[in-house]
């Protein structure tokens, strides 16, 4: 198999916030009945994380589980493990109305870190990013300028953002402009 390359090959930008493409990530879209015990057990086995509540993301030893909609989860695992995880989910969920798809190569992931990280996102997304409104473990699917994206906050107040691979360059450019020095808002 040819060597997999992430959308922007790890490009990064240092403004008042550091924006970097995180490189290859294993990502699996899992659709099904999120109330199902079988599904929760399969997710736990794949990532070590508990089932996330509405608009939350949970962390386990092997990966993250993000609540994307009432019947959809996004599992974030190591890139090399994605294939095996899908196979394991398929086996564990046989007989259930569920679908697991490896979407690792269809997405791009960015990491934003620095003091003004909330400003950078608030300038481009219609989301209340005040600290008490959006904290660690919160996830939001929204609009990043003109494209759909999802992001979540980590414990250290860094953010990770997922978008479609096809718009990775656009998303990176938007974030770069938003993070340009002297563009600080210092409000959030």
């Amino acid at each position: 198999m040819s060597k997999a390359v992430s959308a922007l090959n790890g490009a990064s930008y240092d403004g008042f916030v550091r924006v970097s493409e995180t490189g290859l990530r294993g990502m699996i879209t899992l659709r099904g009945d999120l109330g199902s015990k079988k599904l929760a057990a399969a997710v736990k086995a794949a990532t070590g994380a508990a089932m996330p509540k509405q608009r939350k993301i949970t962390k386990g030893a092997k990966g993250l589980v993000a609540w994307m909609s009432p019947d959809e989860l996004l599992l974030v695992v190591a890139y090399a493990d994605a294939g095996e995880v899908v196979a394991a989910l398929d086996a564990a969920l046989s007989g259930e109305h569920a679908l697991a798809v490896n979407v690792s190569d269809a997405r791009a992931v960015f990491r934003l870190e620095g003091a003004g990280v909330r400003d950078v996102l608030a300038k481009t997304c219609p989301v209340d990013l005040a600290k008490d409104a959006f904290g660690a473990g919160d996830l939001r699917r929204t609009r990043l300028a003109q494209v759909p994206a999802a992001f979540w906050a980590n414990e250290d107040d860094s953010f990770e953002l997922v978008c479609f691979r096809s718009v990775a360059q656009y998303a990176f450019d938007v974030l770069k402009v938003s993070a340009q020095p002297s563009g600080e808002v210092n409000f959030l």
Binding site: Q54, R55, S69, P70, R140, T142, R143, P148
Partner: protein, 109 residues
């Protein structure tokens, strides 16, 4: 700018995160229907001044379709509700009645 709460993911989403999907509570008439029924289904839409029921999609979010009840004149939103229903929930109808006692919209009032 409209701000609607998506009943599926609970987000208070502003207009640009959503997509308007036309009128709510349309009854589909398919291949075996009469010409009039199909024409009504296909083309005939309400265009009220006042209370209106619309379908929206949380296109930049969870991707689900939902319904919203609002006034086209004041932009007041009476509420949003699941699209898996044939008529608006009673609490939303009550809310509208409190403001517009004689409202009617297609078969609802």
């Amino acid at each position: 700018m409209l701000t609607l709460q998506c009943p599926y993911c609970g987000v208070w989403a502003e207009e640009t995160e959503l997509h308007a999907e036309g009128e709510a509570h349309l009854k589909r008439f398919g291949p075996d229907s009469s010409d009039e029924e199909f024409e009504t289904y296909m083309f005939m839409r309400e265009n009220p001044k006042g209370v209106h029921f619309e379908r929206w999609r949380h296109s930049n979010g969870c991707g689900k379709f939902f319904h919203a009840a609002r006034s086209t004149t004041t932009l007041e939103v009476f509420g949003t509700y699941s699209a898996q229903t044939y008529e608006p929930p009673q609490e939303i109808k009550d809310k509208i009645s409190a403001k517009y006692p004689n409202w009617s919209w297609r078969d609802f009032s």
